[in-house]
């Protein structure tokens, strides 16, 4: 039996997190298949055949998969999934939407947000807003797994020689339909894979000040993140939210500007290698998890940072 990876894509390009998931799958099996379900996706299928360790590309090309709606996609995965002992996807909103359905249809548990694979049935994940690790064992014969991308390296996208097989879905119901999508296009790196992130909190105070973060980000080649409070204040968009109910990140360098460090925010950043806090309050909780901190006013510090980086 092999392991199946569910590819994430926008019908044109493959999301890089799919490559991290392949690395996780390699720890479970040597024979890895990848499912690409979408519409007009031949280009991606071709790219996928070259990924290291992938032996088979399952191609489901149908308009019903074009927008990744959960109901048809989960019944497709359930129909083809019987042949696998593990089905993996990255822990993105896309698979969090789809995979629990697959698990329920197989009558098995889903193992969410896995950061370490110990053996074929034993996994590690973080619980309690990242304050504890849970080592758990699955009793199911099919393991449905979402993978924390930042915990696994990207697989090489060269060297593979997979064959392509087309698959389709016999039973599905169309009980939902796609209307529109508003994509917040950013020329900066993706938050979940970025090496450097600079984030702003409610203390930033205005959209204009938030723009200063963007200037610094561009100097550093960084992605820009935000707290829930900053998003709710209208300084940043929802897709920029980091934390327990937003994105989980693990950059080499995380710069937290005017962020207090609530446990729900820390839950999303605690795997960062180096945390830098800039805060006017020396007792802010973020200071207690920072490697470096500057106590001071962002109105003074951010412009200085821009000047220094310009040198």
């Amino acid at each position: 039996m092999s392991a199946l990876v569910i590819a994430e894509h926008n019908n044109i390009t493959l999301e890089p997190t799919t490559l991290n998931t392949i690395t996780a799958a390699k720890q479970l099996d040597e024979d890895i298949h990848i499912l690409i379900a979408g519409h007009m996706i031949y280009q991606i299928a071709d790219i996928a055949t070259k990924i290291d360790s992938v032996t088979k590309v399952l191609l489901a090309d149908n308009i019903i998969y074009a927008h990744g709606l959960a109901e048809p996609l989960s019944s497709l995965i359930t129909e083809i999934g019987h042949n696998y002992h593990a089905i993996l996807a990255s822990a993105t909103t896309h698979s969090k939407n789809v995979l629990p359905r697959v698990a329920a249809l197989f009558d098995v548990a889903q193992i969410s947000d896995v950061s370490n694979i110990i053996s074929n049935d034993t996994f590690i994940r973080q619980i309690y807003t990242g304050k504890a690790l849970e080592i758990l064992k699955s009793k199911d014969n099919i393991k449905i797994i979402t993978v924390r991308s930042s915990s696994f390296k990207e697989a090489k996208n060269t060297g593979g020689h997979a064959i392509i097989e087309t698959v389709s879905n016999k039973n599905y119901s169309l009980c939902s339909s796609f209307l529109s999508r508003q994509i917040n296009k950013s020329r900066r790196p993706e938050l979940i894979t970025s090496k450097i992130i600079i984030s702003g909190g409610r203390g930033i105070g205005s959209i204009e000040n938030f723009k200063l973060l963007e200037v610094v980000a561009d100097k550093l080649g960084a992605a820009v993140g935000a707290t829930r409070a900053a998003v709710d204040s209208g300084f940043a968009t929802t897709d920029m939210q980091i934390g327990q109910s937003g994105k989980i990140v693990s950059p080499e360098l995380y710069i937290a500007v005017a962020i207090s460090g609530a446990p729900q925010h820390i839950a999303g950043i605690s795997d960062s290698k180096i945390i830098v806090a800039i805060n006017k309050d020396k007792d802010a909780p973020i200071i207690s998890i920072a490697d470096y901190f500057i106590v001071g006013d962002l109105y003074q510090i951010l412009p200085e940072l821009v000047t220094e980086l310009n040198k």
């Binding site: 959960a70 989960s74 359905r101 889903q110 969410s112 080592i135 009793k139 939902s176 109910s245």
Partner: protein, 248 residues
């Protein structure tokens, strides 16, 4: 339209109290339960829809140990009409089991819509709504920050990784909500008094379903120590010097 809201009892306290000496999970004896924050938004949304005349009845359902029953009263005080409390003294209910129990209630009550939270603050799995939708064969809208009821369907805006998505769901449907969907109200004193008179059905998990045993076994829980003694830097120049050595 009848709406079922799933509310989860959670414990909001320091992790030290959640892990036992032998690295297993705590017993929930003597701890105070609150409503999972996302589920407060779920109740609020149902109440607003009722106030707008779109919803006729709100039923809250919760599964938990007997000492978590207080959260049903809280939900009723927020404006739900009646409650169903499924007592489960064995603490190891996993999302699939919760979804199976909720499915049984859904089939009994036949609501047009079930609203749940997008995740819970303790285990943070965010699976229950999706599993329930799949088991029922109903449509699904997850991570919802806006919900509009039309005559024959529901339109939802979902928060996705790179922006927002609007989809249309035919009824019946299962929705999971984000905190941004609304701002829950405080229960007024008169509503708290009224809640005491509202009907609550008390059922037992074992009587409802014999297939709720855990599929995942916790072998060990380890507390992660995050505290660092960071270096206080005087200015930006010092910061850049440090970072030059380390990363940039």
């Amino acid at each position: 339209m009848k709406v079922l809201v799933a509310v989860k009892p959670v414990i909001d306290c320091d992790v030290k109290f959640l892990i036992k000496e032998d690295n297993s999970r705590i017993n929930f004896n003597n701890l105070k339960f609150i409503i999972n924050p996302f589920d407060e938004n779920a109740i609020e949304e149902a109440v607003r829809l009722k106030e707008a005349g779109k919803v006729s009845e709100i039923i809250v359902v919760s599964i938990g140990p007997s000492q978590s029953k207080n959260i049903i009263f809280t939900a009723l005080a927020f404006g739900a009409d009646r409650g169903i409390f499924i007592v489960n003294e064995d603490t190891k209910l996993q999302p699939l089991a919760i979804a199976k129990l909720l499915k049984i209630i859904a089939i009994r009550e036949l609501p047009a819509m079930i609203i749940a939270g997008k995740q819970s603050i303790d285990d943070n799995l965010g699976q229950t709504g999706q599993m329930l939708s799949a088991l029922l064969g109903w449509s699904q809208g997850t991570f919802v920050s806006k919900l509009i009821i039309n005559s024959t369907n529901v339109e939802v805006i979902r928060e996705i990784d790179n922006g927002l998505e609007t989809i249309v769901l035919s009824l019946p449907t299962v929705i999971t909500v984000d905190l941004r969907i609304n701002k829950p109200r405080y229960a007024s004193l008169s509503n708290i008094i009224k809640a005491k008179k509202k009907p609550i059905d008390i059922l037992s998990s074992i009587d409802l379903c014999n297939d709720i045993s855990p599929h995942l076994i916790t072998l060990k829980i380890e507390e992660l120590k995050r505290h660092k003694f960071g270096i206080n830097l005087a200015n930006v120049t010092e910061l850049i010097d440090k970072l030059k050595i380390k990363v940039i």
